[in-house]
Symmetry: C2
Subunit: 187 residues, 2 copies
DNA sequence: GTCTATATGTGGATAGAC
DNA sequence: GTCTATCCACATATAGAC
């Protein structure tokens, strides 16, 4: 069964946004990629703003599921933190891509207010979850010198995002590894 | 004495790039801001790509001078790190602005290769300087638990940049403070 | 060095037939 | 739900007069 057109559009748009930025792709690009005419895309997403909202909504749900899955498959705080770092590392795709949240954060002025609010909720969700990870690592001893899980969590997400941005600018994933070594050396 | 036209254009473009992104301003905006016609801008900067190179070149020199000045006016590693954090904090301008390096990093696909190379050199310069700061803080005891200055420096810049990006998305400078608390609590 | 006028391309979006 | 055809706004850039 082929993916339906709407999902195909979301997939194409997400890949495009993550590699070229929200301003870096047009309905013409999606049209060529998915194989329908520009005008037809407006039937599924009346405006590009509506498309951005749908993308961010799906991304929130995806990452929420990822965090839940990590909790299931990894038991120590250290293992969970490693899984999160790995997730951000692999989203780099060799230095050619960012996670959707960073990509959208960098296109602020082109996005509707609704997406800005979604980004806020997304960040809160990830940081809250990361705090539980550091708290677990503090308790089970799998993350060294955790003084304050809330402070650690507030720093971890910006660090992962800044590391992605740096690695992507120079298309060099080693810059990501170098930036997050401050975390991985404690595991 | 009025600033010459070329400098006025650079100033206007830098402010615009930092608040709205490189794709977020046009020659029409500069024209309105500086008070000359669009076509006249091409006399000073033939292409927008050439303008971006000039902006990044000036920014490199500015930050180099800032680091040198910090070395002169602050003696301990801790005081120097505080000064760097303050610099990135104030570049936020209440959550409405980014430093030029982060802004350009987020507009990668619109920039010429020369600017990408300039960003690489800029980042190397800042990270090398930051390493000397952490090394000083380790020696003079003004920064707590420094195990490896190189690892600290490789993380500090992405953290500052990620913190700026987060604070700017929600136009909330408190998010910057929250993210860098992992550093400031050690001072 | 600055101007008017214009070229040329591309963006998102709409109307209306099928 | 998809199409053709078209609109309108705006972008960067150029030609040539003053």
């Amino acid at each position: 069964m082929a993916t339906d057109t709407k999902t195909a559009l979301l997939n194409s748009a997400e890949r495009a946004a993550r590699t070229r930025g929200f301003d870096g792709f047009s309905y013409a690009d999606l049209s060529a990629d998915v194989g329908i005419r520009k005008a037809s895309i407006h039937h599924h997403f009346p405006t590009k703003a509506a498309l951005s909202v749908a993308l961010m909504e799906r991304y929130y749900d995806d990452l929420k599921a990822v965090c839940d899955q990590i909790d299931v498959s990894h038991k120590t705080g250290g293992a969970r933190l490693t899984a999160l770092i790995d997730r951000y590392r692999s989203a780099l795709e060799g230095g050619k891509s960012l996670c959707l949240c960073v990509s959208f954060s960098t296109s602020r002025e082109s996005l509707p207010e609704e997406v800005i609010a979604q980004i806020g909720r997304f960040r809160e969700m990830i940081i809250a979850w990361t705090e539980t990870v550091f708290a677990a690592g503090q308790t089970d001893g799998s993350i060294a010198h955790v003084a304050n899980p809330a402070v650690e969590a507030a720093a971890a997400l910006p660090l992962l995002e800044g590391a992605q941005l740096a690695a992507r600018v120079e298309e060099n994933p080693a810059l990501f590894d170098s930036a997050v070594q401050i975390l991985t050396q404690r595991l």
